[in-house]
Symmetry: C2
């Protein structure tokens, strides 16, 4: 769509382009926090990033492209999952981190707006999907290390485990609209840990056969 | 706000009022499925329910009130959770029911639109919260029966258990935007069952202490 034909993600070699991209991302996140997705405009991003509106349209196409690139950039950080030395510690730390990030309203505003945007924009939904796919693939390390340490059965479905830890938190925040707290994060980690130990996430069984026939 | 001062929910004694309310609800659900919350208008509801626009405004106040009453009415059905005779069967049936309802696009459209609406309207969020609170309180029977049968420890946090079964499905549908299928529903039920059996949802432990010290 752009005259150069290059997607924003390909303009990444440090320096001025990287700084511009980061400034634009910061403006998008601030705008999402302040106005939500329906209220975010290219004008706002231009004003808060110092990047000219025509440049934003040319390089990002518009609001959907700006949101997608913000998520792409968020996915390029060096975040790595906790490494406490035990599966229990790691799952608990993962759950606490998820809960904490949505308990602080300042921190929660932008991701909440992006989750909302995904209901209105297919492109936002795709970018959100890609972001979480990448993020949870990093989280799987926690389970792989546990298998190596003998804390989890071989064949444990790592992707399902790390999603199951966060799911009850997001479910209450965005579906049932109930409050969450650190105790709930701990409960989720504890439950998933018990299920892992019982072999409930081991692949052969995940297809639907009972864990224990007792 | 209305001249009579009565909320829609109080006009409920069968007959014409009940039929009108049901017709309005059907129109709201159809409209949500077709246009989503941002596209739903009082005009659409009037046209599809046969109820005059001024009546809709007078009795429901507008779109937010119509949506809230639709959820109130949905919560007045006689749905009850599965009773298969075992906790495993019941949790699996609950998970399958949740998965099935979102796998059929026709069935999924209206609830998806309501979940989306909750991001844009505080009143929709409150109504959604009330709907799920009531729905999950019915689901808790499944756990209470399991405790009576000796399949689950006394003190098992029934609300947390039934939410944990559905959470990974909704999480993938509306947050990570990943596909779900019956095998995933079974995996979720199997994992939660194992956690229940291990005592991971028993209240004293849910506060954060480890399930097993092995």
């Amino acid at each position: 769509m752009t005259e150069s034909g290059s997607a924003p993600g390909t303009l990444r070699p440090g320096g001025r382009t990287a700084r511009t991209r980061a400034a634009v991302r910061d403006a998008v996140l601030t705008g999402l926090g302040e106005h939500g997705y329906p209220g975010l405009t290219v004008e706002y991003v231009a004003e808060h990033s110092g990047v000219h509106k025509t440049t934003l349209y040319r390089r990002w196409g518009g609001i959907e492209g700006l949101l997608a690139d913000t998520l792409d950039l968020a996915g390029e950080d060096d975040w790595s999952p906790p490494d406490t030395g035990s599966l229990e510690g790691d799952l608990r730390a993962l759950a606490r981190e998820a809960a904490d990030s949505f308990t602080d309203p300042g921190q929660a505003a932008a991701p909440t707006a992006i989750i909302a945007a995904a209901f209105q924009s297919r492109r936002a939904a795709d970018a959100l999907h890609a972001f979480y796919a990448e993020r949870f693939s990093r989280c799987e390390r926690v389970v792989h290390r546990a298998v190596e340490r003998g804390e989890a059965p071989a064949g444990t479905d790592a992707g399902a485990v790390v999603r199951a830890v966060s799911a009850p938190l997001y479910f209450r925040l965005f579906i049932t609209r109930e409050p969450i707290d650190p105790a709930l994060a701990d409960q989720s980690a504890t439950a998933v840990l018990a299920a892992v130990r019982a072999g409930a996430f081991a692949s052969a069984r995940a297809a639907g056969r009972p864990v224990m026939s007792g």
